[in-house]
């Protein structure tokens, strides 16, 4: 029964990983930028939600929504002020984007440190701590809520990209920037929106995990590592691949931590990446799929 319990835990955590990874992989796929500040968006989501609950006396759900909205605004400004400038220059966007987002990441980590202090926070869960019981499996209420929101948000994003005009513009830009620009797609707007979306997804994950795991200003470092692992496993730019890879990673880590060793839990992901690069660099799921 431990197995099934760990499996369920793994799926839930994997789902939240998916939220983080999907944003990162979409930003990469569309803008060819490896967003090193992605982990900080996660952190900011959690931190802002926590602050709103503490100082603005908002309930959890309102704080969740507000935090996501605020982080999306922050993402918008980062993209407009910094990334856009890089596009106009002749620099290698991948390296320049990486360096700039590393700078942004450091900046936010330290802003977080200054504003929020170094004491880790745990957001008070709006649910009772008594878990649901599905047969012999225990399911924390907050975890269940997180899983629901995750599924909802991912489905929403998926349908948004498939059905709306903006989504179509995104897909066009993903396939061929220049042609998309030629047929009248506002590339700048697409980029802004993509970055905002990514930031928002990460912030959602941060605010959802706030009541489950502690948040501290440097948490972004471990988050971004996880996200990278998943994105490579799933195929860079591959939306669905990221989801599956996230679930696989979540389950592997959960089972690995239970049966092999807890301290080396993160090792699983790293080793998987190196193996994938050795044998199947396009990721577990083949060529880059459309988003």
């Amino acid at each position: 029964m431990i197995f099934v319990q760990q499996l369920v835990n793994g799926l839930i955590i994997g789902g939240v990983y998916a939220l983080i990874a999907v944003g990162l992989t979409t930003i990469f796929g569309l803008m060819n930028v490896v967003n090193f500040a992605h982990g900080e968006f996660y952190m900011l989501g959690g931190m802002i939600a926590s602050l709103l609950m503490q100082f603005a006396d908002l309930n959890y759900f309102l704080s969740l929504v507000a935090a996501i909205a605020l982080v999306m605004c922050i993402g918008y400004f980062v993209e407009k002020i910094l990334l856009k400038r890089l596009r106009n220059k002749k620099t290698d966007i991948l390296v320049a984007g990486a360096l700039v987002t590393i700078g942004v990441s450091i900046f936010f980590q330290n802003v977080g440190l200054l504003v929020f202090g170094s004491v880790p926070r745990l957001i008070t869960s709006p649910f009772s701590t008594e878990p649901f019981k599905l047969g012999a499996i225990l399911l924390g209420r907050m975890n269940f809520f997180a899983a629901l929101v995750t599924v909802g948000v991912i489905l929403f994003s998926h349908f948004f990209i498939k059905k709306t005009t903006l989504g179509m513009a995104m897909r066009a830009t993903f396939q061929d920037k220049d042609v998309a620009a030629l047929v009248g797609v506002h590339i700048d707007r697409v980029f802004s929106f993509t970055f905002m979306l990514g930031a928002g997804l990460a912030a959602t994950a941060g605010a959802l995990l706030g009541p489950i795991y502690i948040i501290y200003p440097n948490v972004g470092e471990s988050v971004i590592l996880k996200a990278f692992v998943i994105v490579v496993l799933g195929g860079m730019g591959n939306f669905l691949g990221a989801i599956f890879a996230a679930l696989i990673l979540g389950v592997s880590e959960s089972l690995g931590a239970a049966y092999i060793s807890a301290e080396y839990r993160d090792l699983i992901g790293f080793v998987m990446v190196l193996l994938i690069l050795l044998f199947r660099p396009s990721g577990l799921f083949g060529k880059i799929n459309r988003i």
Binding site: F28, D92, L94, A98, L99, E263, L277
Partner: protein, 315 residues
């Protein structure tokens, strides 16, 4: 004519550097110089793979740490002297560079970045958790200083000269490579990889060369660091060290010969003399990185040229 005058210039600089400890007598200042030396080695190596080849080895601190721990353990467990230790460190990190290169350099750019980070993640985890080998967070202490001709290095000045020798050697090596067909191949790959391949340049082979050189230099820097500070802990593998190296190379001038050294000097100065800004150190680095990439993509080394061209335009 030109060759002779630059040789004379080099000669003067080397003489000045050799005579420096006569003028700079403060122990703390010598320590600064030693740290500049260690970071110069790191930066010069990183500049090879990042500056000249454009590949972001974001997990570079892993090799620094491996070098430090390899050398320290060899000294503590097998009684290796420093001289054997740094060679051992270089060999170990060279092999790591080879293995990671084989995995990650076949597919460059973003895959390479992530693969190097994953390797760093693995190393960091191992150093932290394999307590029987590395003592975990407690670290390893009592690492013996080097001895030369029977005498132990007892003063920082000895380390200064050691580092001076290594840094000059590293610079010489870099210069030799860069001004040769090997360096031209680096450049070609960086400028236009398919074109380079079409004239017979194997991007993989040359990237491997640069990468292994960079990991070996990082390993040697780690070894020297271990025997200088005589204590190492998982802290040397922290990501902030990586950021430091990155800022040094970007600020100083990536893809230039002395840019990394200048960057190392500036950053070490800032770090040590502006102690009161310790909390702001990293955010300032972050800002420097951002501003540097946006406004001075070629680094400070190019500042004289930029100023000169503005001057010309203003006239």
């Amino acid at each position: 004519m030109k060759k002779n005058s630059s040789l004379i210039l080099y000669g003067i600089v080397v003489l000045v550097l050799l005579a420096l400890p006569l003028v700079v007598t403060n122990d703390y200042d010598i320590h600064i110089l030693v740290m500049i030396g260690i970071f110069s080695l790191l930066a010069i190596g990183f500049n090879l793979i990042f500056g000249y080849l454009g590949q972001l080895s974001l997990g570079h601190t892993a090799y620094y740490a491996i070098g430090a721990y390899a050398s320290a353990l060899a000294a503590l467990k097998w009684g290796f002297s420093f001289w054997l230790g740094f060679l051992f460190a270089g060999v170990v990190t060279g092999i790591c560079g080879f293995l990671i290169g084989v995995i990650a350099l076949r597919w460059r750019s973003h895959f390479f970045v992530i693969a190097t980070i994953c390797f760093w993640g693995i190393i960091h985890l191992i150093i932290f958790n394999w307590i029987s080998l590395t003592n975990g967070p407690v670290g390893l202490g009592n690492i013996p200083p080097p001895s030369l001709l029977g005498m132990e290095f007892s003063s920082k000045i000895h380390f200064y000269y050691l580092l001076l020798a290594f840094v000059l050697a590293a610079l010489w090596l870099t210069k030799r490579f860069i001004s040769s067909p090997i360096g031209r191949s680096f450049r070609a790959i960086h400028e236009n990889e398919p074109l380079a391949e079409s004239v017979g340049i194997s991007a993989f082979r040359f990237a491997m060369l640069a990468f292994i050189l960079s990991t070996v230099l990082a390993g040697i820097a780690g070894s020297i660091s271990a025997h200088y500070i005589s204590y190492i802990s998982p802290e040397i593998a922290e990501f902030s060290v990586m950021i430091t190296i990155l800022v040094m190379v970007v600020l100083g001038g990536k893809g230039t010969l002395i840019g990394p050294v200048i960057g190392a000097a500036i950053i070490v100065f800032l770090q040590e003399y502006l102690r009161f800004t310790k909390e702001f150190r990293l955010p300032i680095f972050g800002l420097v990185l951002i501003l540097g990439i946006v406004f001075l993509p070629r680094g400070i080394v190019t500042l004289p040229d930029i100023i000169a061209s503005y001057w010309k335009r203003a006239k």
